[in-house]
Subunit: 329 residues, 2 copies
């Protein structure tokens, strides 16, 4: 591995000069530059970013820390962040915490030590931002889940409204006995639960079942089985995340429950399969591209101006009505 020293030697200049040629931020005599450039390609030299980063205490990398990489929502965000960052010459390091606070801690520390310019992050429930900004040296943008903290920018879906709209859609289409499945790992589930209840309340309805479960396919499956076995069986199931939707769908299928005739089903997030299954699933789609882009832009803004006011950007979902919640006959 050629170092800057080797290049300097080969070009007959000092390392400082090589550094200047690389940074292109100081006057250099053209022929000197020439020599240096030659030596560089001669030796196939590439500057060691880790050394540079140790020296200047920052780098052209950002971290993206998500809670479940198998959730299509997060991979979609990942793509958007990656694209936005790439345009600015930044690389993104993606880390998966599996909703595990220990891994969360591990990766955040890792990223800090990497001198990442900042991180985009979907925290677990009990996350304490202030303890992790490292004296403001590592800016955060929080996505997907709100934390009550003013130390970070946030890009969130208006979960209450979105859940409200999705629920109102069910009610409008004639469903009255609604049950809801919500993720228990984040504020998102709670907020969506709030919107759900609010819509019911406004129509003088009561939920026939509400479960907070771990946001996985299996738990969606199990909870749905429980709902179907109830004496007061729901005529519609609201799920707050696509993994739960999948589990719920599978349970109904296995129990040969006709959707939406016997029980309607709605969920969050557009997925590969939402429109492919029979019946196609009504969903509240999140603008993943926009969330990812906005988060990245916010992060870059804060990197440039660390002291600016933190912002909360609230985005809206769009209802994609499909057959799984068709008007009740």
């Amino acid at each position: 591995m050629a170092t800057i020293k080797d290049v300097a030697q080969a070009a007959g200049v000092s390392t400082a000069t090589v550094s200047r040629v690389l940074a292109n931020n100081a006057p250099i005599k053209p022929e000197t530059r020439e020599r240096v450039l030659n030596a560089i390609s001669q030796l196939n030299y590439r500057p060691n970013l880790i050394a540079r980063s140790l020296r200047v205490q920052k780098s052209a990398k950002i971290g993206l820390v998500v809670s479940d990489i198998r959730n299509p929502f997060f991979t979609a965000i990942g793509r958007a962040v990656e694209d936005a960052a790439y345009e600015q010459g930044y690389s993104v390091l993606m880390c998966n915490t599996d909703e595990n606070p220990e891994k969360e801690e591990l990766y955040l520390n890792l990223l800090r030590d990497e001198n990442v310019a900042g991180v985009i992050f979907s925290p677990t429930q009990q996350f304490n931002i202030a303890a992790h900004t490292y004296e403001g040296r590592m800016p955060f943008v929080i996505i997907d889940r709100s934390v009550d903290a003013k130390e970070a920018d946030m890009v969130l879906l208006d979960n209450v409204s979105a859940a409200y709209e999705l629920t109102a859609h069910l009610i409008k289409n004639g469903y009255r006995k609604l049950a809801g499945l919500f993720g228990d790992a984040s504020t998102t589930g709670q907020e969506r639960n709030r919107g759900f209840l609010q819509a019911l309340q406004e129509h003088d309805l009561h939920p026939v079942g509400v479960h907070f479960v771990s946001p996985r396919i299996q738990q969606g499956y199990d909870a749905t089985l429980a709902l179907l076995a109830q004496s007061d069986r729901p005529d519609a199931i609201f799920t707050s995340n696509s993994l739960l939707t999948a589990g719920s769908f599978q349970a109904m299928r296995d129990k040969k429950v006709s959707v939406p005739n016997e029980v309607a089903l709605v969920g969050f997030d557009e997925t590969t399969w939402g429109a492919m299954v029979d019946p196609p699933i009504t969903v509240m789609a999140q603008p993943t591209e926009e969330i990812g882009r906005t988060a990245t832009e916010l992060l870059f803004q804060r990197i440039q101006e660390p002291s600016r006011q933190t912002q909360l950007v609230m985005l809206n979902g769009t209802l994609i009505a499909r057959e799984s919640s068709a008007r009740r006959k």
Copy 2:
């Protein structure tokens, strides 16, 4: 940010002593250790991994470079790698190249500079390993796609056999006019094509259509439309990746082609939705957990013993027969 110097000062010792306490690799007087430990927690000191890494020229991180993070196959691998690495105290940095050689270059260089202990990698077509091992300092394990190089360990599916088996299954079930959709971004598509053709040949059959396309949903959709419009319409479509399967499925649905009555459909990789759609899709499932684990283990072995012979581990898929390829009536 407290540094080792601050700790040394606070504890009234030298930085060397602090370092030794941390590394726990030298005899330290118990009471000295006590004082150091106190200072550490007092100052909330955490060693700077980047500095350490610059010094020792390695780190407890591995890179995982995949070509498309939206492909469930790769996210499944990601989870497996992550789990296996975590058990060994390693962190994993995940990077997405989008089949873009430029990004591939970017991330590989980045990871090298990070002094990652090694990388697990699914390369694009034209990848030249030798040029990237950086004098053997950065071990590679190649997954999913073969490259003809002896410089790296590889964990691959036996693609030819898998495709052969999947095709033979179709033939056995009475299908005779087979068409195939293959990814054009990697060797994987070519190998699966080979297995496909081999099975046909053995039964004296000829494909009625073979398309090499970019492995995306949209291209699967378009290619299927083309196949359906042919005068010699296939009675079964073989797809070599789950994104293509999805596109193909959607096209058939939109064209109201009954599966499998009019046209059967089979694909690769088990996904969330494969068993949820109607009809459920027959797939050749890859052992993602095993692939990820094996790759990680191979990498650790090579890290420990850089000069060992490189290995090629060939894994088998398992056929999950479902309704989309049911016996022809």
